[in-house]
């Protein structure tokens, strides 16, 4: 593995939660193909029921809610990582067809398919000469 910081980065920009939990920035890979943009986010601890994906105007926001993950009647004796929610927002390019976004979750990884819209017809603007 690379020498990146192994700790999750805290998302300090988000509004505080009612629940006393921290919010982290999920790490993402984004890649582009001819027809779509794919976004893959590491959100360990979430499943299909605890992930939300929202698009408002052209802002895509991903949320993940994580239960504290504490094994029943155990005491934490050594801790290297913290558990908390996830939140991150991206602005989408114009070309994405927002109606056709698909999302799946597997093994704590959210995968979004953001299809590109059919080619937008070029619009010709007629210029009128001033009289």
């Amino acid at each position: 593995m690379a020498d990146k910081d192994i700790q999750k980065a805290q998302n300090t920009a988000v509004t505080e939660k009612i629940r006393n939990v921290k919010t982290f920035v999920p790490r993402v890979d984004i890649y582009e193909t001819k027809d779509a943009i794919y976004l893959i986010a590491d959100m360990p601890g979430v499943d299909a029921g605890t992930v939300d994906v929202e698009v408002e105007k052209n802002i895509l926001t991903i949320y993940g809610r994580v239960e504290n993950g504490k094994p029943a009647d155990h005491k934490l004796v050594f801790s290297e990582y913290e558990v908390g929610d996830y939140e991150r927002a991206f602005s989408l390019p114009e070309e994405i067809d927002q109606e056709k976004i698909k999302a799946t979750v597997k093994h704590g990884v959210l995968r979004l398919e953001l299809p590109k819209a059919e080619k937008v017809k070029p619009r010709k603007i007629t210029i009128h000469a001033e009289k």
């Binding site: 700790q7 893959i40 979430v46 993950g69 094994p71 155990h74 990582y81 704590g108 990884v109």
Partner: protein
């Protein structure tokens, strides 16, 4: 005046869990200075009378590619994760997730029963239950009068 100090004491008691959290975080802050790739993945260790639970975040792994072994009192977690197979002409716009192989050795505070170790992989979190070895349990000494 005495009333005021009473409230102060009460509020201090209320904040003890937060102080403990703070202490843990400060410890983490200092220990993370020396954290390197060899410390991947980060683990949490939980304890109960008769055993330990180790949890670690390994999102998006193939459960068959995670290996958990115990040798003596050393727990080893290793594995490999494959990067996305990109086709010709597809490009990464961002690449923040990790892929590749890793190995983490962790010394347990006592002998565990190797036969009864259980590992579960759910929602990208690996949870290993390590029951303490029968012969290693603390013995109660009977005191004769």
């Amino acid at each position: 005046m005495s009333n005021l100090s009473f409230w102060r004491i009460k509020r201090f008691a209320d904040s003890i869990p937060e102080i403990m959290d703070l202490q843990r975080e400060i410890n983490r802050l200092f220990s993370s200075v020396t954290q390197t790739a060899a410390d991947f993945p980060a683990i949490n260790v939980w304890e109960k009378d008769n055993g330990l639970v180790v949890t670690t975040e390994l999102p998006g792994m193939d459960p068959d590619k995670i290996n958990v072994t115990v040798n003596g009192n050393v727990l080893t977690i290793s594995g490999t994760s494959e990067p996305e197979p990109l086709k010709e002409g597809e490009v990464y716009l961002r690449q923040e997730r990790e892929s590749g192989s890793f190995q983490r050795n962790f010394e347990l505070p006592y002998q565990v029963d190797a036969q009864k170790i259980e590992a579960r992989y759910e929602r990208g979190i690996l949870q290993i239950t390590l029951p303490r070895a029968e012969e290693d349990l603390p013995k109660k000494i009977k005191i004769n009068a």
